[in-house]
């Protein structure tokens, strides 16, 4: 059973990690996927291979999420091509691991630009397209640290807290239009980036996870798949943890 047959989905931040897994899961379930990345050409080969493997359309789309005008134009180009957008996954983001005295304001502002302003820009334009359709599902990528807090992640947690607030209010405003807005809050995910950062104290981190292992990116993608599909047709305004019982 294909859960997203012919649904038009835009996924931001797909060059690696969770976004990468989401695109593959969606393609596997029959979606027409517009996979976003920043560097032109960097996912051409991969999207071609997915199109062939799953006999669907996986299209690379390149822009910097902080370039608001270009982002809007790219989204409108998708709407022009497909006549609709059914799903937005706001996954593009940046993360740093720094103690408060080490946080540079320029980095903090960049993180807000990418994780909050960039995400809101996509939500704004896509929700207006969905308003015309009177349907759609928007999924924002939050984080366990927004709710629980984490030493060394004040700036990142701040932006993800904003994402949660954005999700809850957007869900209320868009519910009458049959547009659902939810957030996924992953715990510790075994992406290359995460493993690189925590290589030295990896075992110590694993002790914080009830299930005793990191999440696979595919497990986050599966939750996005559920929230994007009609299986979750009455779910909106929820922040869904996918953390294997993690304590921070």
């Amino acid at each position: 059973m294909k859960l997203l047959e012919n649904k038009v989905c835009l996924v931001s931040g797909t060059n690696k990690g969770i976004g990468h897994a989401i695109v593959e899961a969606f393609a596997k379930h029959g979606a027409i996927v517009y996979a976003h990345a920043r560097s032109v050409g960097c996912i051409d080969q991969w999207t071609d291979s997915l199109s062939e493997k799953y006999q669907t359309k996986v299209v690379p789309v390149y822009f910097d999420v902080t370039d608001l005008d270009v982002a809007r134009k790219r989204v409108m180009a998708i709407k022009t091509a497909e006549k609709r957008i059914d799903v937005l996954i706001n996954n593009a983001g940046m993360v740093t691991y720094e103690m408060i005295p080490m946080v540079q304001m320029s980095t903090f502002k960049s993180m807000i630009d990418v994780n909050v302003v960039g995400a809101f820009n996509l939500l704004q334009i896509v929700s207006r397209i969905m308003t015309r359709q009177k349907s759609g599902s928007i999924i924002n990528m939050a984080s366990i640290v927004a709710d629980r807090g984490a030493s060394g992640q004040v700036s990142y947690a701040t932006t993800k807290g904003a994402v949660i607030a954005m999700t809850k209010s957007a869900a209320k405003e868009l519910a009458p239009l049959q547009i659902r807005v939810n957030a996924v809050a992953p715990g510790m995910v075994g992406t290359v980036r995460f493993k690189d950062v925590f290589e030295k104290n990896f075992q110590e981190k694993l002790n914080n996870i009830g299930m005793g292992r990191l999440a696979e990116p595919e497990e986050i993608a599966d939750m996005c798949l559920f929230l994007s599909s009609d299986m979750s047709s009455y779910v909106t305004g929820q922040i869904i943890g996918v953390d294997g019982s993690t304590e921070l």
Partner: protein
């Protein structure tokens, strides 16, 4: 129906008024019913009808019958 007739029809439907009241004085200051919800509904109908997507500043600026025509012109919609 030409674009002016279509434009007027959207106003008469949105504000529940007769077409003959639509003039240079028909704006958010003079029309009691013209609140932000009504303005958003007006803009959304304009977008659907003329198949355009306005920028946020144009949605905010769509505050009169006359200004609306100039805003639509930015999106290559000529009201005539």
């Amino acid at each position: 129906m030409n674009t002016l007739e279509t434009y007027n029809a959207i106003f008469t439907e949105t504000f529940q008024v007769e077409e003959n009241v639509l003039d240079t004085d028909f704006n958010s200051d003079t029309v009691e019913k013209w609140d932000s919800v009504c303005q958003l509904s007006l803009v959304t109908t304009m977008e659907d009808t003329f198949d355009i997507m306005m920028e946020p500043e144009d949605i905010i600026g769509f505050k009169s019958y006359e200004i609306g025509k100039s805003i639509l012109a930015k999106y290559d919609v000529t009201i005539a």
